[in-house]
Amino acid sequence: MSSFENRLWTELAEEHGGPLARTASRPRDRPSHRRRAPLAAAAVVAVAAVLASVLSLTASTSTTPAYAVTVNPDGSVTLTLTSVLGVRGANQTLAKLGVRAQVAQIEAGCTQTGERDLTRINDPLVEPRKPGGRQPSIEAQLKRRKGAAAFAGIDLVIHANQIPQGDTLLITAELNRRPFKYHGQTVPSVSSTDGLYRGAAPTCSPPVGHHAS
């Protein structure tokens, strides 16, 4: 390459490479081309009372699945996100299941606010999924997929039945700037937050400390 092309790459990587550097791999297919469970939401919920129904809808073919949504026997829903690329698919699946919860990406410049419902602020509507238990291991579901890498992502249980009527539970996910060590390798990490909104929730969320008043 010429010196111009070398310098251009250096500048591109410095000025615009951050988001790509924080993205582990890109999907090879769009979610719409993947296997989708052809079940109506009501049917899925009914089956969930008998056994844990797993809808492992993925946003990638040979790489780590980007998300999975699992309906648990107690009516709660386990949401697994291995990539922000899975946000859209996860939201579509939650909507199909009739779960009034959605995931929003942190976006600089997001000005959406929505109306918070603080009446249930002390109720744990979302909690980290506890290992063990009777529901099928989501890690096992993900690992069984051909080529799926070891799981290391958001894994939350949403108590969907406790979301007040008319409210929407918003979960945000943000890649942390500081990576951490995982099995001796440096990998990105993510923090998640959640909150209730009256009516529709914002579809994006500003970075922490940049919320509009």
Partner: protein
């Protein structure tokens, strides 16, 4: 509630998507520069449009990137779009103002290298000028396949037409080109 959890595959390659994009950049930047060198004799314009193309590509690579094997057509579709926007700006006569804001200020060596690249495309520009009266897609079919080294399938993907349509247009343009060359000799 705030919870922190690990994310991402620990099997991901170092650098993630950026390393993947860098490989694409290094393999295609010469062709992209050549694409613009066939359209402009100004090194600064060639540099700016090349940079704009890769900035746009970087923005969408992770979320809306190319399918495997389609990287080149995807990139050239972006390059064509960038060039179309450049022509619109030029039409509005505000290109000079934009040039003042150019992010790639070229030094002497870089200018010389790009001038050589532009000079190397002189014959290609002349050939394309012979096709000036042809539809734009016909010209681009010749350019991508005969000058840039695309396969007909890649060129069809870049131009958004079927391979069959591309081959018809390519054949028609080549016939026209031969006639023009005979006429000019």
């Amino acid at each position: 509630m705030t919870s922190a959890a690990s994310l991402r595959s620990p099997d991901a390659p170092p650098g993630g998507c950026l390393a993947e994009f860098e490989a694409l950049y290094r393999s295609e930047v010469g062709l992209v520069t050549g694409f613009f060198a066939r359209r402009s004799r100004d090194p600064q314009t060639v540099a700016d449009l090349t940079a704009d193309t890769f900035v746009e590509a970087m923005k969408s690579f992770a979320s809306n990137g190319p399918a495997d094997g389609c990287e080149r057509p995807w990139l050239f579709a972006i390059a064509r779009h960038v060039y179309a926007k450049h022509c619109q700006r030029a039409g509005r006569r505000d290109d000079a103002a934009r040039r003042d804001m150019a992010r790639q200020t070229l030094d002497e060596d870089e200018t010389e290298q790009l001038l050589e690249r532009i000079d190397a495309q002189r014959t290609a520009r002349e050939l394309l000028a012979m096709l000036a009266a042809m539809p734009e897609m016909d010209r681009e079919a010749v350019e991508l396949v005969d000058l840039a080294g695309f396969t007909p399938t890649q060129a069809a993907a870049a131009l958004g037409v079927s391979p069959g349509t591309l081959r018809v247009r390519l054949f028609r343009a080549r016939v026209k080109l031969r006639k023009e060359i005979k006429h000019n000799v």
